[in-house]
Assembly symmetry: C2
Homo-oligomer: 208 residues x 2
C-alpha cells in the first residue's frame, strides 16, 4: 500500500501536519495557507508544499489548503480511516499509564489488551482492561489480527517479547524499553525514550 519512493523522513512529517490540521479543524478553520501551517510547525512553507506534492495536488490556488479535505487525505495516506487495535505488553507503572492514556484512542488507536507475566498482575483491572497472562499473547494477536503492539517491559525482557509479537503477526512496535530491538525488515519499530531526548538537549545547555 505504501509508496516506497517517498522518503521515510517525509512520511514522518505527515502526522505532524495532521496534528496541526486536527486542531484547526476543531476550531472551525476552513482554509490554511502553507505559510500559516509552516509558522505553526516551525518549518518552511516550501518544505510543506514539497512534502505534500509527493502525495497529490492538495492546494487551491489563492486559498491554500482546505483543512477538512487535506485532513481527510492525510488520514487516508496514513491508513487512519480505520481504528487500529493495539496490544500492550507490560502492566507495570509505565505500561499501566500507557494502557489507560486516552490520547491514543483519540488518534485512531484502540488498546484492546494488556499482558504481563507476573502472577500478581494477571487478572488485575487497569482502566477497563483486565491484565492477561503472556501465555495468551500469541493466540490473542492471531485471533484479533493485531498488527501493532507497545512494549513496556524492562529492557532485559524486551527482545524476547518482541520476538513473540513478531512471531504472532505484529508488524509495528512502539518500544518503551531502553534497548534497540532486533526485528525482521518487514517489522517497524519506533522507540519512546524521553531520557534520550533530554540527553540530546543537555548538549546545548552550558554548565554553570
Amino acid at each position: 500500500m505504501a509508496d516506497q519512493s517517498v522518503s521515510d523522513i517525509v512520511v514522518g512529517r505527515l502526522p505532524l501536519y495532521l496534528r496541526a490540521l486536527d486542531v484547526m479543524s476543531k476550531s472551525g478553520q476552513s482554509f490554511v495557507s502553507s505559510h500559516e501551517l509552516a509558522r505553526w510547525l516551525g518549518t518552511s512553507s516550501a518544505q510543506i508544499r514539497k512534502d505534500l506534492s509527493q502525495f497529490g495536488e492538495f492546494g487551491v490556488q489563492g486559498r491554500g489548503y482546505d483543512v477538512h479535505e487535506l485532513r481527510a487525505n492525510l488520514r487516508h495516506i496514513l491508513h487512519l480511516e480505520r481504528e487500529w487495535a493495539v496490544v500492550v505488553v507490560g502492566a507495570g507503572r509505565l505500561g499501566s499509564a500507557v494502557a489507560s492514556y486516552p490520547g491514543f484512542a483519540q488518534r485512531g488507536f484502540t488498546i484492546c489488551a494488556l499482558f504481563d507475566n507476573h502472577p500478581d498482575k494477571i487478572g488485575q483491572l487497569i482502566g477497563n482492561l483486565r491484565v492477561r497472562p503472556m501465555s495468551e499473547l500469541a493466540d490473542f494477536v492471531q485471533a484479533h489480527r493485531v498488527r501493532i503492539a507497545m512494549i513496556a517491559v524492562p529492557a532485559s525482557a524486551a527482545q524476547e517479547v518482541a520476538d513473540q509479537l513478531v512471531q504472532a503477526g505484529v508488524r509495528a512496535i512502539l518500544n518503551y524499553a531502553p534497548i534497540d530491538l532486533v526485528v525482521p525488515p518487514s517489522v517497524r519499530v519506533e522507540n519512546v525514550d524521553p531520557a534520550l531526548q533530554l540527553q540530546h538537549m543537555t548538549y546545548y545547555l552550558s554548565e554553570e
Copy 2:
C-alpha cells in the same frame, strides 16, 4: 559550550551511542569495534566513526573503542557528568507517571518538583514529591536554577506553562502535550507524542 558546527542530527545520535555503551559497560565489556556498535544500533560503522570523529580521536587502532573511556567522553560532551534538576508541570495521570518513572534518575535527571494548579492535586504525594501550586513555579525554578522542565498538562494549557517556564529561566523543555510550542531560539523543545510515532508506522501497514 556546545560546538555549533556539529549538526543537530549528529548530536541526536550521541545519546543512542551512550545508551549502547551503558549496557556494554554494565555487562563488563572493555572494548567495542565500530562494526559491533553499528550492528547493535542498526546503523553503519562508517556513520559511527564519522559522527565520533567530529568530537575527537576516540578509537584505538585494531582494538576499537575503549567502552569506559568512550562512555566517559560522551557523558562529558553531552554535559551528563552532573545531575540535572528537572521540574514536571502537570500532576495528572501522565505527569504522575513521568514524575515517578525511575528511568530518568538512572540517566542523569533528578525530578525535584511537581506542579499543578488543581486544588485537589496540590499537596498530594506522588512518589516522594508533594504536588506544589503553580504560583510557586517561577520562584522555585529561579531559586534552584532549574534549566530543564517537562510539560504534562493538557494541550490547551501547554503554551502558557511554557511561557512561564521560559520566563523563569528554563532552557530545555520535554513537551508531552500534543501541540507545537512556540519558544525563543535560546530554548530547546523536544516533543514526546507516541501517537505521532504510531501514525508514522501505520503508513507502512496495509489495510487488510
